[in-house]
């Protein structure tokens, strides 16, 4: 196409037999060559995709990077709901972190019992092979975006039970883990520190 079309171009002669067959091809418009302000010259069927593209490109470049992403990132990192699941010793300290002295709810960390409503799987204890597939199921039941914390030595690498025949030596063999917390068991403030480090990780995320 040599020049920008000022009017609707007539169908090319070669296309006439096809038009008689009721299957007229749309006139081809090189949209890259059309200036934005000449949009009313296009037909209505082409207006919608053009406008959509213009809007999305505007949003993508300006709003998404500067507004939408930071806002949702802020929301996501400030309201991490862990799954209410106690595995072993660390579960007691996990519970203590929600007690009166440490009060994890200060940071918006509220345990939920249903994996569908959780963002965070805190593996607080020894994982055995018998419970491994249930752990994976729970992790998969959580909707995206989701994170996992391996709390304590057992979840990190088997801990004192790593030589046992029934223990998974490290939960990262089963699910992707974002933050590891050392300790046997970690103290509640240690666990909260892990959660805050995860928040930092989410903040620095670029995707």
């Amino acid at each position: 196409m040599s020049a920008p079309p000022q009017t609707v171009p007539a169908p090319a002669p070669a296309a006439a037999p096809a038009a008689a067959g009721g299957d007229a091809p749309l006139p081809v418009v090189d949209q890259a060559a059309v200036p934005f302000f000449e949009i009313e010259t296009l037909r209505a069927r082409e207006f919608i995709p053009a406008a959509k593209e213009a809007l999305t490109s505007l949003l993508k470049e300006k709003a998404e990077g500067n507004v939408i992403r930071p806002v949702f990132n802020w929301a996501g990192r400030n309201s991490l709901f862990p799954l209410h699941w106690g595995l072993a010793c660390c579960a007691i300290e996990f519970a203590a972190a929600f007690g009166a002295r440490w009060d994890a709810e200060r940071f918006g960390v509220v345990p939920r019992s249903s994996p569908r409503q959780c963002d965070l799987l805190i593996v607080n204890g020894t994982v055995t092979w018998k419970v491994a597939h249930k752990l994976i199921t729970l992790y998969e039941q959580m909707p995206e975006p989701k994170w996992a914390i391996a709390m304590g030595n057992c979840a990190t690498g088997g801990g004192p039970f790593r030589t046992a025949y029934s223990v998974v030596p490290g939960v990262d063999k089963l699910i992707p883990v974002d933050v590891y917390i050392a300790g046997c068991p970690p103290r509640p403030e240690n666990m909260l520190d892990g959660v805050l480090r995860l928040e930092q990780l989410i903040k620095e995320r670029r995707d």
């Binding site: 806002v71 949702f72 802020w74 929301a75 996501g76 400030n78 309201s79 007690g99 009166a100 009060d103 709810e105 200060r106 940071f107 918006g108 939920r112 019992s113 249903s114 569908r116 409503q117 963002d119 039941q141 959580m142 909707p143 995206e144 975006p145």
Partner: protein, 376 residues
Amino acid sequence: MAPMTLFSVADAIAAALLGLLGRLLPAGAAHAVTAPDVVLGLATVVFAAILLAASMLNTILLIWYERKLLGRFMDRRGAMHVGFAGLLQNFADGLKLFRKDTVRPREADSLGFWASPTAYMITSLLIFGVLPISTGWNDGSLPLTLLLALVIFSFAPLFIFLGAWASNNKYSLIGGMRSAAQMIAYEVPILLAVVAVVVLSGSFDLTTIVNEQRNYWFWAPLFLALIVFVAGMLAEMERIPFDLPEAEAELVEGWNTEYGGMLFAFFMLADYLRALVGSILVVLLFLGGWTWPSYVPSALTSFPLAGIVWFMVKTYLVFGLFVWVRAALPRVRTDQLLRLGWMRMVPLALLSIVLAAVVVAARCLPVLGCIPSIGG
């Protein structure tokens, strides 16, 4: 001068907006734009938007209020670090849930699964259209607002049960069945308690009911009805002594076990919307709405929007009572709950109707007229 209602405010805003638009357009188009029908249509939209914004904002504030209050009851501090004193915590929760993936279990029924939270949310919001918050909130052109509010309020078990059934989860199903049984059982005492109020005030219109309370609030003569109504509302709102449908200990999350993301946020918000409606109804029916006792110095009552402020203070105090109950009481069992509803609450409500009738009769007899009559 006609009382300024919320709708007249919306009308004025719509007219102003359209007038502005009309000035930009050619004359013929401006005439079309400022036609009364168009103004009325835009006014309705503006009205709905104001209501939506106000109710949602209040609900989110209510959740924050509950979290802080519960924290204090429990010797801790509640949300603190997101925003000033955790005020932005609920916004963060909401935005996060908005962004989250919404998973529908494979075996779940698609239509029911999506429709029920939406319908639950919509019906809960709809009630705010008929609740007067202050004098002249609506102008009395709708005479049966109380009835309408209660009817919309009682739609909920239908949608809860629909969602629970559609989830295809055993916990959800049991929770949904409990919810339906509980709400139906407590509809009756609530309505009977409301009948007592209606007998005393002689009207189904909430504005009239509040205006009838200018001289004395209804909680004094109708104390029994107040107890029945509050207990019934606790059951309808599914708050803690009666929160069996979402009993965390036995049914994981109750009927919203399978819901996550935005649909769960809808359920959660609608729950608190209903809690707000419940508190507002208690204030309207028994605590004198936007009126204040006569001994309150006029400095406290004469500032602009005093009615709304007083109303919200009362509402939040009533909701604080609900939170207190939540912090202090354990959960009852299904059969105990139903027995309480049918065997205790219904007779009490009936008794309160009789009491209301006695009060009305006493008002008619000048000899026994110890209670000041209404309207001189």
